[in-house]
Amino acid sequence: MLSHLVAGQTLYFGDSLFYIVCFLLLMWLIKIFAWKPVTKMMQDRSDKIANDIDSAEKSRTDAANLVAKRQEALNASHAEAQTIVQTAKTNGQQQRDQIVAQAQTDVQTLKATAQKDIAQEREDALANARDDVADLSIEIASKIIQRELNADDQKALIDSYIEGLGKQHES
């Protein structure tokens, strides 16, 4: 029937069966040896590329964040350093002023004390000198008196003394 329809050629239906079997067998072999592993590999690759893109995006944002953080920290440390230097400067200024003031007051006190001491000493020395002069003059006077005082005079002195005593009684 169909066997002489086409181009006057004889068709052998056994061939049809042979080609179907051949083709299915070939398809099965290709599936086992190549199709499955290759498509799996291609899938793996596309997955990997997608993952890589994602992770690259992630690391990019991470890096950007890190840079921003670093910049911020750097700025903060600049400011901190400035405040530290400023504080140190003011502290130093303050301390210097304090020390100078302290030194001035110390000097003043020292000066005052020294002046007081000097005055005191002079006073003392003066007092001593006065005492000494008094003693000396008394000694001198007593020496002079002892030598000048003879028996008459002694008697007169005693008398005057007694007289004085009597006057004291009377009063």
């Binding site: 086409v6 056994g14 051949c22 070939l26 190549a34 291609m42």
Partner: protein
């Protein structure tokens, strides 16, 4: 082709043509060898052979994607790939290798015999029917024959026939005529000694190159039309 006796043999009560069986086996081995040796040592970073194979797979998948919805392509990818390789090498085989044994041809393009091309055509249409029933169910699948209206049914059924014949005979016609012309030119070349040889051999070479091109185009067209027929069956017609 059909000049000279055709060698046949009987097996299980069926008649086989020796030429078809032998050339079919040759193509089978060629396809398997190509695929087998390019798929060794697969790696995530592809090397030469793997690159070629992956390019081929992408190419046939690309043909299928032209008409089949992208999410369904994976179930027909292997079919399209095997079909393309088999038909392509079948078309080329006869251009470079034609063996005759005791006067009968035993190696030539298998696709220059209509029974082979019609077998592939039938296989595609069967796959289309199967896929249609599998995806849509019997009811919707056969309801497609009644669209756009009930009286379209005879045309739908007739269309299946014409699809079957045109799909198979297109490739057969091109390859058959190509080989026939090759033989005619060769006959001319050997007819009057060296003088005709000088004239005919360049023509033969040009025609061989053109036939190789046609063979590639026909394999591509066959797979394209296969995917179109399959896509028609796995979608509900509006």
């Amino acid at each position: 082709m059909n000049d000279g006796p055709v060698s046949t043999f009987q097996f299980l009560g069926l008649t086989f043509s020796t030429a078809n069986v032998v050339s079919g086996l040759v193509v089978f081995l060629l396809v398997f060898a190509v695929v087998f040796f390019t798929s060794r040592h697969l790696a995530l970073k592809p090397t030469k052979g793997q690159n070629f194979l992956e390019w081929l797979i992408e190419f046939t998948n690309g043909i299928l994607k032209g008409s089949i919805p992208a999410n369904q392509v994976s179930s027909f990818g292997l079919y399209g790939f095997t079909l393309f390789l088999f038909l392509f090498l079948s078309n080329q085989l006869g251009l470079f290798l034609q063996l005759t044994f005791h006067g009968a041809t035993i190696v030539r393009s298998p696709t220059s015999d209509p029974i082979v091309t019609l077998t592939f055509s039938l296989m595609t249409l069967m796959l289309a029917q199967f896929a249609g029933v599998q995806r849509l169910g019997y009811k919707k699948h056969f309801a497609n024959y009644l669209k756009p209206f009930v009286f379209w049914l005879p045309i739908s059924i007739f269309e299946e026939f014409t699809n079957f014949l045109t799909l198979g005979l297109r490739i057969f016609g091109v390859i058959f005529s190509g080989e026939m012309l090759l033989k005619l030119i060769w006959g001319l070349a050997t007819s009057h000694g060296i003088a005709t040889m000088i004239v005919a051999v360049p023509i033969e070479m040009v025609w061989q190159g053109f036939s190789a091109f046609l063979g590639a185009i026909q394999a591509f067209v066959f797979v394209t039309l296969s995917s179109v027929y399959i896509s028609q069956k796995i979608e509900v017609e509006e």
